[in-house]
Symmetry: C2
Subunit: 415 residues, 2 copies
């Protein structure tokens, strides 16, 4: 077997995204033992930075040692007992994943669906919430499969009127647009690593509040082998041990109760990724994503392409573009990758073959990459016989970058 | 928040162990998309190398994106349905973990126990197997909590006479001593990353055979969102989605069905770690661990310390040494770490405060580190007022390294 040789790529997918080289450098440090005070300090730093990243005062803010769906499963598997009612508004592939996770946890799942490419009016969801009063409402914030950003700021209030819980998958939106955990009354939220945070997949920041913690701790069962006489076992314990949030609380708190062996270098990457993001400043970071998204949209439109459901609650880090008629979208993607090292994505289900998805997340959301992408993407389209106006595309992209900065506090209202 | 600054350490614990710098370098490469042909080739390489590392022809040999217990849970959670009978011979803390995982999966668990510091006679286990005929027997190979290596080569045959399944936790023994999956008839096995393979925690190589695959696929349920009309759903589906081996089979095979986002840089580390190990040669690697273990034992004994249950099925990568009378073992460990940057471990349960555990795994199992460790450990003991003969310890350690190499094929019989 020969040594790894990683070829150059310009990754413009909705994740995994390219990693900031400073993150890779941080991750190349030698490891520390998991109970080494130097390492537990890094764990504490990460908790503090995760809190800031989620705009929350929650005590519970730590990473799961697994990819994003491990974070979703940890939350759903801990809050949903067999027989519990769960409402999932589905508007894309990752809503389906919530349905799947809740069913596997034994939940009685009700869904409501919006057409792919659209989002729900929150009033529509609220009226279903008032009717069903489900224990858990699980919703996706940024649905990468369709490129939509679902407004979720008013759901928590409606759910808390009768004592339910709001669980949010913010994997793709996290660190690219505000996820206001406290202000929006989100009870448990999953962020993503390999999306706008731009660190490698394999670790997943989550947060949940004290009311959520109190609920899941009714199921607490400290495992055999580290259990003491003081540890009561709840009934209807959580099925997973690895993704049992109540045990992870003991690991991510001064008790430091032995559980898994924390994934050291993933924590290094998380530390550096969060540090860079907070140093940039969250409002500036969110504005950068929005600006890049507008520039890419303008460039693609000026080239002559059509944006899918343009202006309709687009995620400011995913651009969905219609595949030109008579072009084989997958063959084109393959050729773009083979010839120029540029990667874009297809989509799922009914959108497969209809749209390409272009991600502008974290490290990849910068002017130089966007201009390079427009140039290479346009060139590949010309090569494939699609008539596009490459110069107009580049000019329109450039023009957005040259516009004066909008005030950062105007961000939320523009979404 | 300031940048990471990782202080120098000599990690001599039974995991996580120091990482070979060549592995860290491999992991600092830029990421690739998970469906990029360059990356799926790395996935295929990893499967091929995992097969070799387990001495198996199994088709199913791939990593789990989680720490070792995620691997254990993936296997137990997939094979154990509610009501299934499970036998766990327990001789330390990680046997308890199997009990816990099997109970959470709904298994009816029977245990048999050996005193801590000892292992089972295989005939004892076999007679219990014949009496109970459990669907699953789950056993630890290398029990790091007590430093014991359990012989397991004859269990598979007894279990296969009536059609049961043998599951083995080889997390700590893997890549430090033979784990002969095919010859010993092991049905499903978990290896470790942060032990003798010496790569960072967070990814876990596993393997299972076709008979095991056929059994778990009766529970198969392709998830909503990627399910097609051709996908049947089994009854009594696996509770976890993230650790559902039947879905992971679809991801780690030509179907490449979308599941999680593979942890790219963890796969890079696995690739380099396995490549280095296979390049060294497994027999040479196993002999190296044994030689280092003998050298450390000889040195500690010559210094005047007492090895815990010396010669009684010791793991050739963990040395358990009795804490000298009247010494506070944890305070000593803390001082060793603070003054010299040397880390060793305590133990669990009844052994806490009685023994220290010193690991010599993978990258840390080399002459220079062992001599340095003896020198610093002896110096710290002298400083703590414990009278040890440091020169005798160093001489005895050195002498073992100067002995001619034993023929590599003699390895297994010396264990």
């Amino acid at each position: 077997m020969s040594e790894l040789k990683i070829n150059h790529r310009l990754i413009m997918t909705p994740g995994p995204t390219m990693v900031d080289p400073r993150v890779s450098q941080a991750m190349s440090n030698q490891i520390l033992g998991q109970f080494d005070p130097d390492f537990t300090q890094i764990m504490n730093d990460n908790m503090a930075m995760i809190r800031k990243s989620f705009h929350t005062k929650n005590q519970w803010a730590f990473p799961i040692d697994g990819t994003s769906r491990a974070g979703n499963e940890a939350i759903i598997g801990s809050i949903v007992k067999p027989g519990d009612s769960v409402l999932v508004p589905v508007f894309g592939r990752f809503g389906d994943l919530f349905v799947e996770l809740a069913q596997r946890a034994g939940g009685r799942v009700t869904t409501m669906t919006a057409d792919w490419g659209t989002v729900f009016d929150q009033d529509q969801i609220i009226s279903e919430i008032k009717r069903l009063k489900p224990k858990v409402v699980a919703i996706v914030h940024g649905e990468t499969s369709t490129g939509r950003l679902q407004p979720i700021d008013r759901l928590g209030k409606a759910i808390h009127e009768y004592g339910g819980f709001l669980v949010v998958d913010a994997v793709a939106s996290y660190m690219g647009t505000p996820v206001e955990v406290d202000r929006w009354e989100l009870d448990a939220v999953v962020g993503g690593a390999q999306k706008c945070l731009s660190i490698p997949s394999g670790i997943t920041p989550i947060t949940f509040n004290d009311r959520f913690a109190a609920e899941i701790n009714q199921r607490k069962r400290v495992e055999q082998g580290v259990r003491t006489a003081l540890d009561q076992s709840g009934s209807q314990f959580i099925t997973s041990n690895y993704l049992d949030l109540t045990q992870l609380q003991d690991y991510w708190s001064p008790r430091r109760l032995n559980h898994h062996t924390e994934a050291t270098v993933a924590d290094y990457g998380l530390h550096e990724g969060l540090r860079l993001a907070l140093h940039e400043g969250l409002p500036a970071r969110f504005n950068r994503h929005l600006r890049v998204h507008q520039a890419l949209n303008a460039g693609l439109t000026a080239m002559g392409l059509t944006i899918y459901h343009q202006g309709d609650h687009e995620m400011p880090m995913v651009t969905c573009v219609q595949i030109p008629d008579k072009l084989d979208g997958d063959a084109f993607r393959q050729s773009l990758l083979e010839q120029f090292g540029v990667e874009i994505s297809s989509s799922f289900g009914s959108l497969q073959g209809k749209i390409w998805r272009i991600g502008t997340m974290g490290y990849s959301a910068q002017k130089g990459f966007i201009l390079t992408f427009i140039a290479l993407f346009g060139a590949a389209l010309l090569q494939a016989g699609i008539s596009v106006d490459l110069k107009a595309g580049l000019d329109a992209t450039q023009a957005v970058f040259e516009r004066p900065n909008a005030p950062v506090d105007s961000l939320v209202s523009t979404l």
